[in-house]
Amino acid sequence: MALDIVKLGFSLAGILIMLLLPPYLDGIARRVKARLQYRRGPPLMQTWYDLQKLFALPSVRPTKSALFTWAPYIALASAISAALLLPYGNVVPVDFGFNLVVFFYVILMVSVALMFAGLSVQNAFSHLGSAREMQIVLTVEPLIAVLYGVLAYNAGSLNIADIIANLHATPSVILTYILLAYALYVESGFVPFDIAEAEQEVIGGPLTEYSGRLLGVFYYAIHIKRFTLLWFFVSLLTLPWLGPIGTPGRAALALALQFILTVSFYPVIAALEATNARLRIDQVVKMNTRAFFAGIIILAMAFMGW
């Protein structure tokens, strides 16, 4: 039974990280951006304070549609379930058959919830935002699917833990990492890809009509989604190359590495955000399409065994 306690412990640590860390990561990003702009910046807790305040406020409901109320919770549930499918140390809290496919869909559900939330109200800006979100999803998801395909083919499995265990370095995998970094960055909706929620253009897009608790839940879901995508990337980057992780000690080391890398990637993302302007949707669609074709070539390379 000792092993089970270790597994439980790692799962618990994972759940704690996944629930508590994301707003802090945003806090780091805000601080880094502020420093790049020669500002002092808010405390690291600021995003938590913001969420706390939003959770305490009632929401204005401009529509009777139940979707409007449910969408934030669906988004949050999806983001959390996605995070549970990832390895923390060597433990995947929810581990089954081909959970890479499930991961793909559950992450997608956050965007879908956001899209439907925007469409559930009568507001031109919400609709525009939803339409943009849809265009981004429609162009970036095929790319991600292809890249997952490369990984799955390379490792011979659709299970995230198996993929991590069996991945071997080939040129196609290295190229996949590069494209995956791009694709996940786009999917996370950081500047210059925050087009759907562009404040100055569509005043928040799908979030336009949201306020109070519901808005807070949406924000929380989005933070967790961003964390999840980054954690996934970091896991792919580190775990396959650490060798067999048998003992709890090595697993703890792996978890620490994941944690440190995630936290240290965030300032890089923040710096990218701070030094870019927002792109326009047609420009992003064009970029994504190009990346998709590059992805296809990589897939072909993978099939050839490179």
């Binding site: 790049l36 702009q37 020669y38 525009l128 562009a198 701070a274 870019n276 302007a277 927002r278 326009r280």
Partner: protein, 599 residues
Amino acid sequence: MVGTKDLEAHFEFECKACEDGRCSKADVESILAERKGLKDFYEAFKEHIRECKRMTYGQYMFVIDREVLPEAVLWWHNHPKFKETHMSTAVGTDERPLNGHFAYMPFLNVQVEPFKMDENYWVFLKVYTPADDPSFPSVAAKLPAALWIEREVKDLLGFKPVGHPDPRRLILPEDFPDGVYPLRKDMDYRHSPITEPRTEYRETPEGTTLVPMGPVHAGVEEPAHFRLFVKGEKIVDVDYRGFYSHRGIEKTGEGRLTYNQVLFLAERICGICGYQHSVSYAMAVERLADVEIPDRARYIRTLLLELERIHNHLLWVGIAAHLVGYDTGFMHAWRIREPVMWLVERLTGNRKQYGMNIVGGVRRDLLDYRKEEVLKVVKEIREGTKKFLDIALNTNTFIKRAEGVGILPYKVAKAYSVLGPTARASGRKIDARLDQATKTAMAYHEVDFKVPVYKEGDVLARVLVRMDELFESLWIVEQLIDQMPDGDIFTPIGNLPEYQEALGFTEAHRGEVVHYVMTGEKNKVYRWKVRAPTYNNLPAVPEMLKGYHVADAPIIIASIDPCYSCTERVQFVDVETGKVKVLTEAEFNELSIKYKGVF
């Protein structure tokens, strides 16, 4: 029809001297010989010209028959040799107490040669209409530059532009009662708003959806209502409704305040280009009083005008960056800008609304030891801006959003009389600092600077024009400090001649600002007309928006550097109750007496 005889009867002003060219008895031949083009115009419209005179240096007025008004305006605007001539705006005046007529007067900035202030001049085309039929053939039907001003005189004075393509309300609110015209001298103040407000929006074209940008929108700093008709994300057509910050400043200035009090009101027209308005107004009155203001005062004015331009351009480029999501650019631009604000606070006592001007000079001298400080700040700004531009113009995503977006072709710019950096980015060679005789109030003719002109006409060109201009302004400031003459800073004005007209103008950061002043009795202002550059630039924005993305709309709108409060000067609406409340003449007089001597 107004006959010549009717007019002559009312033009027996005690003019200072006929040689001055200011009165109807002056020698027409010699006046017309002063500048190129005047004679040709006189020959072309001989039968319809009732009077011609020189109002002041470089400002000529023709009183013409109203039937030929469009032809006369177009004759100048489309002059084959004077390419950059444009219709600046127009003034409507209720002159019934004087001569029983309404007067409508478009005026043009005639550019014989760009940047030669002693050759170019202003032409005023005045039309008298009988009191019972204030109609005139619409110029706007043929020249879009007149679209707004004709709607304005229709709203405020009850004129009828016959054949106007878009005769909806422009300035007055939707619930303003019919038949009440605020700028008429016999305006009855007791009217209440009508209970059922009438909105006059354009129908949404078939197959498009409406995206309402405004009246309050995160991408537009002040209230303005752009109704974008879109297909998907593409803008097909645009309807504009603005004038939500209409304050009735012109009416306030007329007849009640003294000419020096109006000056301080003028400075409060705008929070950014306040000093430009104040100088323009002062210049107009100084022209009327025919005084020469001391050199030192001219230099101090020019210095402050340029410092204002510097901080405005930095402010603008920051906002432009913010609107495309480039917040780092925004923060840095404003950080670089801040020392200018501190500097002018040192020089004048205020960050904005300097309160430095007075008709006839300036109120505070520039202390000599402050010169060092000015030079230090200029150096700082130059270095900071260079670094900033180096980074911003190398930010791929920023360029991608600005390049090829919101293109305004030269022809459209000219047809709408677009002004300032917006016009210069579209290839128009205009700059009121050098184009017209600013030498009576400012010192631009004594310093050396270039006027940057770009041909692309897109948002990026507007950014570059402004940034080039910024460096020129820094250079001007350095020269001014270097050449600053000694002497007085103020000339007393004395009494103003009655019922005389003149124009004051400066090149504000957004384009040419004009203040038309007609004096009344006892040193009061009979008619004061302000035209901020945004008034000419904004009608062209729908043209820039068509065919681009909704995402581009904020940056395109901002690219003209719109200033709504400047544009929407002219009626009091009590915001709290929503009732139209206008101070009575007695209340106004009380206010004037109460604050007498304060200014």
